[in-house]
Symmetry: C2
Subunit: 297 residues, 2 copies
């Protein structure tokens, strides 16, 4: 079933689409705040969240030409979270995606405000449906609510709080899992569900996609931890081994490398199982699940 699906072309075409949309947001980038926002937004991420959103809409057979707006909003939220996480008061990272972090390239105040501005802009985007979308406005409000909740103090932000609190402590496996479910899992799940809602998926489909996204979200994190141990810094654009340096709890640290790899594989298997009632329109989602644990960065 998967043999004929070319994920590389798919990812590259989606990324081109999302990068084009993101790149065309700022007509005038003469102000410092726009320069900083653009700098981090266009620093070349994997665009996993936006691709998942669009792929989920396709999986439920939905057509929504405005879905690109949700995809852009998700990348803005993800980028804002990276800018703030990198700040001196938090992870104090100087390098991200192979280039200086926002507060290094600009300054700390600008980085804080650029993050704030990207978060705010994401909701400006989500609410710019206009009257032509009048009949779909309930869907958009629903999507906004799901994304805001996932990004907020019961989701991503609480995850970052737990991550910081855990530094230097040895977490139990279940606490590590809970932290990741919040820190990265919540927004990944919201990305998939947003796509499914905008694509007019059924309740059963949405339920299955929730299971799919929870599994790949965690698999994504386990793989990140593995790459942090054994990844090639030249490919990753950041230093390997930084987790150990910071005494962060990781899957390889708790389970060992081999069991971590097995765990990631099992999560992907469970993710694929959740898609068993979907037809081949879900092939991109299936391929992404494999990609998530096979990637090198």
């Amino acid at each position: 079933m998967m043999n004929n699906f070319d994920l590389n072309s798919y990812l590259s075409s989606k990324r081109k689409q999302i990068n084009k949309a993101l790149g065309s947001i700022f007509a005038d980038d003469s102000s410092k705040i726009v320069k900083a926002m653009k700098y981090s937004l266009m620093a070349g991420g994997k665009r996993i969240r936006s691709v998942l959103c669009m792929a989920a809409a396709e999986a439920v057979g939905g057509q929504n030409k405005d879905i690109i707006r949700a995809a852009c909003a998700l990348e803005m939220i993800h980028t804002y979270s990276l800018i703030h996480d990198d700040l001196p008061a938090m992870d104090n990272d100087k390098l991200r995606r192979g280039i200086p972090t926002c507060h290094i390239a600009f300054d700390e105040a600008t980085a804080i405000l650029a993050g704030d501005a990207l978060l705010t802009l994401s909701f400006e985007f989500l609410s710019s449906t206009g009257s032509s979308q009048g009949n779909r406005s309930l869907e958009w409000i629903h999507v906004m609510h799901i994304i805001a909740k996932a990004a907020g103090y019961k989701g991503m932000i609480e995850g970052q709080m737990q991550d910081m609190a855990a530094e230097g402590n040895r977490l139990r496996l279940e606490d590590l899992e809970k932290m990741h479910a919040l820190k990265t899992g919540a927004l990944i799940e919201a990305s998939v569900i947003a796509g499914a809602i905008l694509g007019k998926g059924s309740d059963v489909q949405i339920q299955n996609l929730k299971t799919y996204s929870r599994n790949i979200g965690l698999a994504f994190q386990v793989t990140d931890d593995i790459l942090n141990v054994e990844g090639d810094p030249n490919i990753m654009g950041k230093d390997a081994g930084s987790d150990q340096l910071r005494a962060k709890s990781t899957y390889p640290g708790i389970l060992g490398l081999e069991s971590s790899r097995e765990f990631a594989k099992k999560l992907v298997k469970d993710a694929l199982k959740a898609l068993e009632n979907f037809d081949n329109k879900a092939n991109p989602l299936r391929a992404i699940a494999h990609y998530i644990i096979e990637r090198k960065k």
Copy 2:
């Protein structure tokens, strides 16, 4: 016309309503992030933005029992902006509303995230209309869009950027006005317009309320500058004279105290003129315009 209107009772009743709503948001405040959000949110502000939002809805004769949600969202955005402005990388303020600022009471990372979380929660609130509000979802999307735009990189955030860039420089009057229009004016205007839209005001009414809000927004700032020179620190809950210490451009600095007072009075007069076609349901807005330049903190 104004003689029979008791602004103090009005403000105190509205504030009670908004504080009750804000205070009941967090059922469980055992987490550090919730403690920090609540600490700053409930530190007792003037609640000007939320009161303006509700008063504008009343002025156009609108009934919307859910308007309290927009009012809460506005206070969250205002509070988030104060938390971030107070950070060491920005204004480095240690005292706000008479108590230690968020990053002093907690720590810098928590303050950054508490601000992020309040901003995010504001959009969770604005998008929680639910299906009972299905027929009003277009209004809510419109309101969200207006608020997001006002709070974003073309509004409040650009204002803070300009404010920081101006420190130590002598601004021309028009640049000072532009900066304030963005930094405080944009969200005040959005508060009034949000209320007018949710109250189902006509286009003409909304246009007039825009004029009203621009004038009181600026009057508010001019008065803040005056209070910073001659206010009583015990009443204000912060030090007087801090603007001068930081070599900030202010209205009293450029125009002198007496002309600044005259300017604020003229702005209020223009604000009241914009309300001349409104009936006595706009009396709260009229009284607020007077209050804005007569307040002592």
